[in-house]
């Protein structure tokens, strides 16, 4: 076991490592090597998950009972998965896994003990539907201290055994041995404001603009839809800001004392104030284009701006999927006689 790495730093990995670190981890590694700022961190690799589950499996069969489930018998699935999740969440990790995670965590927090971190599941599957069950949304923010970190890692893993996720695997006959998950542990950004951005317009599919959405505080409020974010459209080439929709942002999510996050009212004078300056919008646009260029295709990105130094950090960048999945119909076919294009104007409606 000691020869297999349990954790990998972002700088050591990339998208090719997806089977071992998951999509989110691979993407953060990729961004790091592209020179884009991300909150520093590491991934708990799938090998650690495998070692843990094998240990549990040896003690008392875990995978076989799941594989025996009938996905239509929801009562049985519910009962079985509940028990498995309890085991995953409460059993001690193998000592070498636990030590490796704690040691990487200590290194991450070397300059400031008990630095808050985010613990985020990092799915290995390419299947979007599967991935969305497999705790893609599981992100634990403002986690403090080694014990909490270990607990949240187990919570991420446990999400693989949700009813929906298990049913999906059973319906598709996926072997339990193929199930794996990486877990990202990275320093928390104390965000003044945060949000998402798209290098291809989510509403129109336009490739020439970056749509930026943001609100005060942590990005979780925007991603979860609790706050209607401010919205801007920035042209990639001209830097023109062609849309500005400033919304009423009444709450923000901030760190809670003792760990975790909480909803806090936004001061009156800030509620309808834009959360980004034009200068910041253009900087965000630049960063998003670097990510797009690095990946060679449009990206959906999560970003945050550090409250203390104003730095832009990316928390996630993944390929845009909605528009890329639609067939691009050519806007106009080349014409043998270039003049015939004017008939689109003069020829009447067709």
């Amino acid at each position: 076991m000691s020869s297999v790495p349990v954790t990998s730093w972002f700088s050591e990995i990339g998208l090719v490592d997806r089977p071992a670190v998951g999509g989110k981890g691979g993407s953060l590694g990729e961004l790091t090597s592209a020179g884009i700022d991300v909150p520093p961190g590491f991934v708990v690799r799938t090998e650690a998950f495998e070692a843990f589950i094998q240990k549990l499996d040896k003690k008392e069969a875990l995978r076989a009972p799941i594989e025996a489930l009938d996905p239509h018998d929801l009562a049985a699935v519910g009962e079985c998965t509940k028990a498995v999740r309890a085991r995953v969440e409460n059993s001690p990790l193998p000592a070498d896994v636990r030590d490796a995670i704690l040691s990487s965590y200590a290194e991450l927090c070397a300059d400031q003990p008990d630095t808050p971190v985010a613990v985020r599941s990092s799915a290995t599957t390419e299947d979007a539907e599967d991935a969305s069950f497999a705790g893609l949304q599981d992100t634990y923010l403002w986690v403090l201290g080694g014990d909490q970190v270990i607990q949240m890692v187990r919570s991420c893993w446990a999400s693989l055994y949700s009813v929906e996720s298990v049913c999906y695997r059973r319906k598709h006959g996926l072997p339990e041995a193929s199930v794996a998950m990486g877990v990202v542990i990275q320093r928390m950004v104390d965000a003044r404001c945060a949000g998402v951005m798209f290098t291809r317009s989510p509403t129109t599919g336009d490739r020439s603009v970056v749509t930026i959405e943001g609100a005060w505080g942590l990005g979780s409020a925007v991603v979860s839809g609790e706050v209607t974010p401010d919205r801007w459209v920035v042209a990639k080439i001209t830097n023109e800001i062609s849309a500005r929709e400033i919304s009423n942002k009444h709450i923000q999510q901030l760190a809670k004392k003792g760990g975790g996050i909480e909803d806090v009212p936004v001061p009156d004078d800030q509620q309808t104030a834009p959360c980004l300056s034009d200068e910041e919008l253009l900087k965000l646009k630049e960063v998003s284009l670097r990510a797009e260029r690095h990946y060679g295709r449009p990206q959906d990105i999560e970003w945050a701006i550090d409250r203390h130094d104003g730095r832009i950090l990316l928390l996630q960048s993944r390929p845009e999927t909605v528009w890329s999945a639609t067939e691009d119909k050519p806007v106009a076919k080349p014409a043998e006689n270039p003049l015939s294009h004017v008939m689109n104007i003069f020829g009447g409606r067709r």
Binding site: S201, T204, G205, D206, R207, S208, V209, V233, A235, K236, I237, T238, E240, I241, S242, A243, R244, D328, P330, V331, A332, K333, P334, A335, N337, P338, L339, H341, V342, M343, N344, I345, F346, G347, G348, R349
Partner: protein, 604 residues
């Protein structure tokens, strides 16, 4: 209110304002609404005619629609549209398109169109060069028209030379030539216009489909030229600022000093002053033949008629020259930027196939665009100034002979009445009796002036009659920007935020500041640094003003208007074509101009 329940009034429901019936009747019979007009759709041409039209000024609508129609209907054979009909009521010009809907007829016209319009596109540069020659000749002819004179005795040399034709005949001759030249000019104006806009629109539509969120301004910037005539007047003012510094006469140009005083002081200071005045003359001919409006009203005077506008810009430019700033437009840099823009958007297209289409369309759009940008200087500015000034000369002659009090009163007569008055004068001069006009016209003119005042205060419905299901007339879409969507927004006007005024997003940026409502060029020097200019028309001739202001808002103009181009060039936010900014915004109010969205918000 549901969309379907909202309707524009019928023409027959519009009443002539009480007390103005006689003034209304002074417009030609063929411009009056008639009962059958209720069956058609009309819209108020506030873009070109935002104020009540004096009877004479209707000649512009008449000549322009006559030429536009013949180009569309008879010369180029546009497949889906004939010309524009025009009506006037309460001084407001309504127009309506004549669409072609029969598929067989469209097919027949398409075949003709491709023989005609395609030839123009293929030979664009040669035909445009030829156009410029024709236009210069037309301008020369107008400049060569003789001064008006009715001497007591025919000059002896005419008699001895056996001319045989007396001076009174030349009044009629000159008047008819003046009018003929104006009608002819409008044919030149439309010779290329629709084709030019059409090629631009083909590219524009392509960009809007490929990049749904691209702004109009960005597309405009991709085709904009840099040597266009519209920049020249402003460039000349900059040149004169440099000359003033080089000649050491710059101290004479102080803010708020009267033009005549400046000219006199330059004259007095000897050689350097006279040298500068010589440079001024070079600039004036022809580049100061730009008028302070769009050229459609007789009172849109030119810089040459009123030097206060270019002179008001001189102190600012001189200051910059002395500070070592380069006032030259960075043409090479602008060209590089434009190319980067074209290449950048090209790269973002999805396929090579689209890139080929894009190249085909932008190549054509860039070829035709110099005409779209350039024609206005020759037509709407230079020629129109010559025309109205010549009519003004007739006004002066007629007022001298007692037909009315002031030379400007001539514009309250129709062009038929002016001709009648001239023949009346010719007759009386020839037979020695008194002309009869002096008894007839003063009362009519007073009545019509009063009517204009009444009409100016009335609300004008933006459209009349049945709304068509689709607006498929390329001329109306291109020249007036009218679409089914814009009509819907007119129908729901008044249901939006009362502090917001909407217009065309002409030039990007957001600025807050003090609104300065400038109704005429005489008020130009009220503008303080960083004020927001609110005016009826932003126009390239106002360019020097853009040096001072922080944003521009206008009642008329489209996002492709020259005003918009100049605002973009100066990097100032601009919202144009609001229809109502000068009436709704009060001087000194704080406003926010969002040039990217086309919204002006009144803040207090």
């Amino acid at each position: 209110m549901p969309e379907a329940d909202k309707k524009f009034p019928l023409p027959s429901s519009l009443k002539v304002a009480p007390g103005t019936e006689a003034a209304q009747a002074a417009y030609p019979y063929y411009q009056q609404f008639e009962p059958d007009d209720d069956q058609r759709f009309w819209f108020y041409n506030s873009m070109h005619f935002p104020e009540p039209m004096t009877v004479f000024d209707m000649v512009t609508a008449e000549a322009a629609y006559c030429a536009l129609g013949s180009s569309n209907t008879r010369v180029q054979s546009l497949p889906t549209t004939l010309g524009i009909d025009c009506r006037i009521i309460n001084g407001r010009v309504y127009i309506g398109g004549n669409g072609v809907t029969d598929p067989d007829e469209i097919a027949r016209r398409t075949e003709e169109f491709q023989k005609r319009a395609f030839y123009y596109y293929e030979h664009w540069e040669r035909l445009y060069d030829q156009w410029k020659d024709k236009m210069r000749k037309l301008i020369q002819d107008a400049q060569d028209l003789p001064p008006l004179s009715l001497p007591e005795f025919e000059p002896l040399e005419h008699v001895h030379a056996g001319r045989g034709i007396a001076s009174n005949h030349y009044l009629l001759d000159t008047y008819q030539k003046t009018l003929e030249g104006y009608f002819r000019m409008w044919h030149h104006h439309f010779e290329f216009l629709l084709l030019g806009y059409g090629a631009y629109m083909a590219f524009f539509d392509f960009c809007k489909k490929a990049f749904p969120e691209i702004t109009d301004q960005t597309i405009a910037r991709m085709v904009a030229g840099f040597e266009a005539e519209i920049f020249r007047p402003d460039d000349e003012v900059k040149r004169l600022a440099r000359c003033a510094v080089e000649l050491g006469v710059d101290s004479k140009f102080q803010e708020r000093t009267k033009v005549d005083d400046i000219l006199a002081s330059l004259e007095q200071m000897g050689e350097p002053g006279r040298e500068w005045l010589k440079e001024l003359e070079t600039s004036r001919n022809p580049w100061f033949n730009v008028n302070v409006g769009d050229g459609f009203y007789h009172y849109h005077r030119s810089w040459n008629d009123d030097l206060s506008l270019p002179f008001s810009a001189l102190p600012g430019y001189i200051e910059k020259v002395k500070a070592g700033e380069n006032l030259e437009r960075p043409v090479e840099q602008l060209k590089t930027e434009r190319q980067a823009l074209i290449d950048g958007y090209r790269d973002m297209l999805a396929t090579d196939e689209e890139r080929t289409s894009y190249d085909q369309m932008i190549t054509l759009a860039c070829r035709v665009f110099p005409y779209v940008e350039g024609h206005k200087f020759y037509c709407e500015h230079w020629y129109t100034n010559l025309f109205f000034n010549k009519i003004r000369e007739f006004g002066a002659l007629l007022s001298e002979h007692g037909f009315f009090e002031d030379a400007e009163d001539v514009f309250h007569l129709s062009h038929y009445e002016v001709e009648a008055a001239i023949i009346d004068l010719m007759t009386s001069w020839s037979n020695g009796s008194a002309p009869r006009g002096p008894k007839r016209f003063p009362a009519l003119i007073a009545e019509r002036k009063k009517a204009i005042e009444i009409w100016a205060k009335m609300d004008t419905p933006p459209a009349l009659g049945e709304v068509p299901d689709i607006i498929d007339d390329p001329a109306i879409v291109m020249l007036w920007g009218i679409t089914r969507e814009s009509l819907n927004s007119w129908l729901s006007a008044g249901e939006t935020d009362p502090n917001e005024i909407h217009g065309f997003a002409a030039s990007n940026g957001v600025v807050e500041g003090t609104a300065r409502v400038v109704k005429s060029v005489q008020e130009i020097d009220r503008l303080q640094k960083s004020d927001i200019l609110v005016c009826q028309v932003t126009n390239p001739t106002w360019a020097p003003v853009f040096n001072k202001i922080s944003a521009a808002v206008s009642d008329i103009g489209g996002s492709m208007s020259h005003a918009a181009i100049v605002a973009r060039e100066y990097g100032l936010p601009a919202v144009v074509g609001t229809g109502q900014a000068t009436t709704r915004i009060r001087d000194g109010q704080r406003v926010r101009v969002d040039g990217g969205r086309g919204v002006v918000t009144i803040l207090n």
